[in-house]
């Protein structure tokens, strides 16, 4: 069964064709990073306008790359309906419903967070729950135990900034530009992670995260010690974030008895986070599953992948389905 998945929840316009929730036949992502860079963050109205321009060419490329000559050859059309920016989500949902209407194929709405959980199957078709999954990006910070398909236990979330937001804010403060994650990762490679002992907020209490205090600590430290090399600040900040993320991921896996650790979201590209999670998995006798970057950041394949599982569980979505900007992960 071949499904087209469309993703327009934030600043990537993406579409992909995936077979049976596992085999990626094509995946096209058009990033708007450069469009938003002058503003230091995603501007919702600009994102929505760009999605309108890009969604059709991106869908067309995804169909072509998958060797689909006509959308009617597919088996279903899926789109992310939330969570995300309302105006941006509307574009993908409208395009998917218009395609479903013209082809007569079923439409499937997909929860963006659930789609991140299902990205793992695109790389590792034999992945078996339970999994302890950490999804970290500019928009989300969640720690979830996936006990089975459709059965999720929300272990923790951020109480203030998302992890990726903390990277962006600190990068902006250090004059490294936007997006901050890759910039800090690069600079940190030349720095000393132990140079500054930044606070590890809530590391050993529960599973929720807090990153706003860490940003303030970085600002205060640099003001007080202007001579500390920026690379040391970046490496020490990164270490503090990664330390908290890794500690909680391993603790959640232990509590839930999950033998596999999984990373998702744009921050999963962070080289230090990948290294620490791999080490921690080995030390605790678990397996780390670190999907390639293209599956961690927002993409259409994860939407098409999750749609296959959703379609099997719930059937198609009626064409009067709208968008849900503050949709949560359906937990137990």
């Amino acid at each position: 069964m071949r499904i087209l998945g469309i993703e327009t929840s934030c600043d990537e316009t993406a579409a992909a064709v995936v077979e049976d929730g596992r085999r990626v036949r094509s995946s096209i992502v058009s990033s708007q990073v450069e469009l938003h860079a002058p503003y230091g963050g995603v501007v919702p109205e600009l994102a929505s306008r760009a999605h309108v321009e890009l969604v059709n060419p991106v869908v067309d490329d995804a169909l072509m790359e998958a060797g689909v000559l006509d959308a009617g050859e597919l088996d279903a059309i899926a789109a992310c309906h939330g969570p995300g920016l309302a105006g941006a989500l509307l574009v993908g949902v409208s395009a998917a419903k218009a395609l479903a209407l013209t082809t007569g194929l079923p439409y499937v709405q997909v929860n963006h967070l659930e789609a991140h959980l299902y990205a793992g199957w695109l790389e590792e078709p034999d992945l078996e729950p339970p999994l302890a999954v950490l999804i970290v990006s500019g928009g989300h910070t969640l720690l979830v135990v996936m006990e089975d398909h459709g059965r999720y236990r929300m272990m923790g979330q951020t109480v203030d900034d998302a992890a990726g937001e903390a990277f962006d804010k600190v990068a902006r403060f250090l004059g490294l530009g936007y997006p901050g994650g890759p910039a800090i990762d690069r600079l940190a490679a030349d720095g000393e992670a132990g140079a500054v002992a930044f606070p590890r907020a809530m590391r050993d209490e529960g599973y929720d995260f807090s990153f706003s205090g860490l940003k303030t600590a970085v600002v205060n430290h640099v003001r007080k010690h202007p001579d500390v090399p920026a690379a040391d600040v970046a490496a020490s900040f990164q270490e503090a974030v990664v330390d908290v993320l890794t500690t909680k991921l391993v603790a959640a896996a232990a509590e839930a008895g999950a033998p596999t650790l999984v990373l998702g979201g744009g921050v999963a590209a962070n080289s230090r986070l990948r290294a620490r999670v791999a080490e921690a998995a080995e030390a605790s006798g678990r397996r780390a599953f670190l999907p390639p970057l293209a599956l961690c950041t927002d993409n259409g394949a994860m939407i098409a992948g999750a749609a296959w599982w959703r379609l099997r569980a719930d059937g198609p979505t009626p064409l009067d389905g709208g968008v849900a900007p503050s949709l949560a992960l359906p937990t137990m």
């Binding site: 501007v43 306008r49 999605h51 059709n56 509307l90 419903k97 218009a98 209407l101 013209t102």
Partner: protein
Amino acid sequence: MLLLCLDTATPQVSVAIGDEGAVRGEIRLGRGRRHAEQLAPAIAYLCHELDVELARLAGIAVGLGPGLFTGLRVGVTTARTMAQALRVPVVGVASLDLVAYPLRHTNRLVAAVLDARRGEVFHARYRPVPGGVQRVGDYEVGAPADLVADLVAAGEEVLFAGDGALRYRAAFAEVDRSEQAGPAYAFPSGAALVELATARVEREEFSSPWELEPFYLRQSDAEIEWERRQAS
């Protein structure tokens, strides 16, 4: 020649199917801000009841605004995608033209005025000509008071149409010898879109789906703010 005609530039969702320039059927839903939910089911219902298979459409027409951004994006994305999938041409018409066109039999100046929220209106002026209306001046966005001042200075008899004209009817009453066309003319007309788009398709004045874009007329708030900061 069957045309599917959509306009979602205002709180109203409008879907019409035209056959050789005449309206075969039309749906108007005025629930506001439900464009994404209502548009596809409305198209499906209308086609079903009129026994029109989508594959028989000769083209898709859509109101491009100016209007409410989210509504516009739903209509334009739907039109672009359907046209792409069906491999038919797409025609975009300014939504203000669709407000003015039904008043083409007047001999007054027509001011088409749509509510732009935040105390502003989208507007354009039209003069009746044989077979239609001709726009005089640009499509604009601004405060009702500015439009009133311009119209008072022009000193012409004015016929107001559109939901913006109704919302600010007290302000527009300042214009001497003016009149409101009334609630029947509050929103872009599906029949007008059928007529205007049919003529365009016959003249082969259509675009490829990917060229079609909403007519925003207004920058995003972030751009305005950013330019202001750059200037200061």
